[in-house]
């Protein structure tokens, strides 16, 4: 991968030296910070950089393409359901499909993924049934745990709070000598959280098999990245912590797939963490509770419409001869159908069990909690709930 760790040559392992500040450390020659590579394989017109074009099979490419279409179809259906009052507040991922799906394409089942709240596409690809995600966003407790055989963290609601546990999982893999890795994503806004910076440091210090995907989508609710930080190249955060860091066009699915592939390969090979800044754009609302017209203007959105990750991938696949107008339509139709089916399943799922709030707090059930549950059951009976 074209990226580099400027401090590589300065960092020494604990065996080699006793102290960091041996004579050479107060070397007075200026320190060259090197550079950050920027990766784009497919430009916004769908033109491919032949020198960088990866050799994924056509099946694989179509599989990823369908995942992107499905993510968008799911997003749209969720929006409709939300407007109908049948879905809670949620965060659409429209426009970020390449970034979100590309980041999990090189994960294996026994690897882990630590999603944010804007990662539907990736979660579906990781094996979350769509009706399960609907349960989640509709406020059911049973929607939160990842399904069986899916080694994901639950999605993170408190911004940045999942990044440290993700690093812990990576350290756990090293501890247990597993050949696995973790992908964790977070946004430009989250990059300001101190806990995230601690996570980068821990991952780098312990050389944990973690891939950080910093989704720089231009906005954190109403805050543009240039007000979030005085250095909009968020890949610099990886550099500061001595990590291999790269900036990727997050609307280019090929670049995302390649960058994560290389990063996960490195992680598995014991070469430590990688920092990937994925530059993308939040095309839609922050969440369904948000009104972006208050704080951003249409022109910016238009600029990014032209960079649509879906369109450019379609162009590429068409040029490659693996997709045509018909199969595009078919894919869309079959995805929409799948989403509708999930919705129907979701609608038929049982109502919430109000007693579930007392479950799963401890391994055993403390007396005081039993007492409180009894009090609560009494309350439910009085209300005639659950009978």
């Amino acid at each position: 991968m074209a990226a580099q760790n400027p401090e590589k040559q300065k960092t020494t392992s604990s065996e080699e030296v006793v102290s960091p500040n041996t004579p050479s450390a107060m070397d007075t020659s200026r320190i060259d910070l090197g550079h950050i590579e920027v990766l784009q394989i497919l430009n916004e017109y769908g033109e491919v950089d032949k020198g960088l074009e990866p050799d994924f099979s056509n099946e694989r490419l179509l599989e990823v393409y369908r995942a992107m279409v499905l993510a968008r179809a799911f997003d749209k259906r969720m929006m409709t359901m939300q407007r109908q009052g049948r879905m809670g507040t949620f965060a659409p991922n429209i426009g970020q499909e390449a970034c979100i799906i590309g980041q999990v394409t090189s994960l294996r089942e026994d690897d882990w993924f630590a999603p944010s709240y804007r990662s539907f596409g990736a979660q579906i690809m990781r094996g979350w049934p769509m009706e399960h995600l609907m349960r989640l966003w509709a406020g059911f407790h049973d929607g939160f745990p990842p399904p069986n055989n899916v080694n994901d963290l639950p999605f993170s609601i408190v911004i940045g709070s999942h990044v440290l546990p993700a690093v812990g999982i990576g350290i756990g893999m090293k501890y247990k000598k597993k050949n696995n890795c973790v992908v964790v994503n977070y946004g430009d806004g989250a990059s300001s959280q101190g806990a995230v910076s601690e996570a980068l440091n821990f991952a780098a210090v312990y050389q944990a098999p973690v891939v950080f995907i910093c989704e720089n989508n231009g906005w954190a609710i109403s805050t543009p990245t240039h007000k979030q930080t005085a250095n909009e190249v968020l890949a610099s955060h990886g550099v500061a912590h001595g990590m291999l860091s790269i900036r990727v066009d997050g609307n280019d699915i090929l670049a995302m797939m390649c960058a994560t592939k290389e990063a996960t390969d490195r992680a598995r090979a014991g070469e430590g963490p990688t920092f990937i800044e994925a530059v993308t754009f939040r095309m839609s609302l922050h969440t369904t509770a948000d009104d972006p017209t208050v704080y951003r203007n249409d022109e910016e959105v238009k600029v990014w419409e032209a960079r649509c990750p879906m369109a450019r991938f379609e162009t590429y696949l068409k040029n490659k001869g693996v997709l045509d107008t018909d199969s595009i339509k078919q894919t869309l139709a079959s995805c929409e159908e799948e989403v509708i089916k999930a919705r129907d399943t979701f609608y038929e799922m049982p109502p919430a069990d109000p007693t579930e709030i007392f479950e799963h707090l401890y391994e055993t059930f403390p007396m005081e909690l039993q007492k409180q549950r009894a009090e609560y059951m009494q309350r439910l009976r009085q209300k005639g709930v659950g009978e």
């Binding site: 406020g139 609601i157 911004i159 805050t223 709030i357 707090l361 309350r379």
Partner: protein, 327 residues
């Protein structure tokens, strides 16, 4: 006089305090052009500029710690934390600096700042968006904790908090933000901090609550009067710390019975402290155990089941009747 919602009343207090004192400024996420996710800071930036209404990076510890420094320097920052659940991110700065700098510097520096944040359940939000953890702050020496229950007292208590020289945690019951309107005087109004209010005088039992739970309490008091001829004295704490122990104890000394209602978790919560103080000051007057109707000792539940978690007037009515029946 205009009829305002609580969120409008909060906005009014902020606007007027900024006009009154140019040292009053605001910090928070999305409080500028966006006017805050609940619109409590609407138009403040337009009116007073980006230097006084500062959109911040997404870092609650950063917001609070920065505001502490500004306060030490003589500014009067009003911080908005988007949801009270995210004050956990700033816990260290709150406990170690905001609450203690006056004490640490023997009064040389003060921290006249207000940390405003919406708290509580009832708006069908996701996890961490419905917390009522005021007990953390009440257990922390050096802080004051203020929780209004309606538009008018929200406005007057917020104005008082901004003018106060101590660091204040100001919890706004988000379920009340748009729940009803109330007459709020146009002219600035300020209410004294540290005083509980007897909202409804009564002789049979003392009912103590605050914040969003005042609504079901008021309903219960009315129901009890109308349907059962029970005369309850209802007290709105308003300032949770320092607590107006005198008013509470005087009432219970009169009524001999007491029920306490809050959303926050039970163990080591506000009701425990009130019971401990009644035990100290009104032991010989108590004719029945004091009853706690509170959030249970579990995380605030996801929204499909939250309605059952939050105390409602029926439970309160029942608890009052049970407490009256005790002998």
């Amino acid at each position: 006089m205009s009829k305002l919602t609580m969120v409008e009343a909060v906005n009014l207090a902020l606007m007027q305090e900024m006009e009154r004192d140019k040292n009053v400024c605001m910090l928070g996420e999305d409080i500028g052009v966006n006017g805050g996710v609940f619109r409590a800071t609407k138009d403040l930036q337009k009116e007073h500029g980006e230097e006084r209404v500062m959109d911040t990076p997404l870092a609650e510890c950063g917001i609070v710690g920065t505001a502490v420094g500004m306060a030490v320097y003589g500014i009067r920052p009003v911080v908005e934390i988007q949801f009270s659940g995210f004050t956990m991110q700033a816990f260290d700065q709150i406990e170690q600096n905001m609450a203690r700098i006056r004490n640490r510097t023997r009064g040389k520096y003060t921290v006249p700042m207000v940390l405003r944040t919406p708290y509580g359940g009832g708006i069908r939000a996701v996890e961490h968006h419905s917390e009522s953890r005021e007990a953390y702050w009440v257990h922390t020496p050096g802080l004051k904790v203020v929780i209004p229950s309606g538009p008018r007292n929200a406005r007057a208590l917020l104005a008082a908090s901004i003018r106060d020289d101590d660091p204040i945690i100001f919890y706004e019951p988000k379920a009340v933000y748009r729940a009803f309107r109330e007459e709020v005087p146009d002219e600035p109004e300020v209410m004294e901090l540290g005083k509980a209010e007897i909202v409804h005088a009564g002789k049979d039992l003392t009912l103590i609550s605050y914040g969003a739970m005042m609504r079901p309490c008021k309903e219960a008091v009315q129901d009890l009067a109308e349907d059962h001829n029970i005369n309850v004295e209802l007290i709105d704490l308003l300032t949770i710390s320092p607590m107006d122990t005198e008013t509470l104890c005087a009432s219970v000394q009169k009524t001999g019975r007491c029920v306490i209602v809050h959303e926050g978790q039970r163990t080591c919560g506000i009701a425990s402290e009130i019971i401990a103080r009644l035990n100290e000051h009104a032991f010989e007057y108590l004719e029945a155990p004091v009853k706690r109707i509170t959030g249970f000792d579990v995380p605030f539940p996801y929204f499909q089941v939250e309605e059952h978690f939050l105390p409602e007037s029926e439970e309160i009515v029942l608890a009052v009747k049970e407490t009256l029946a005790w002998e």
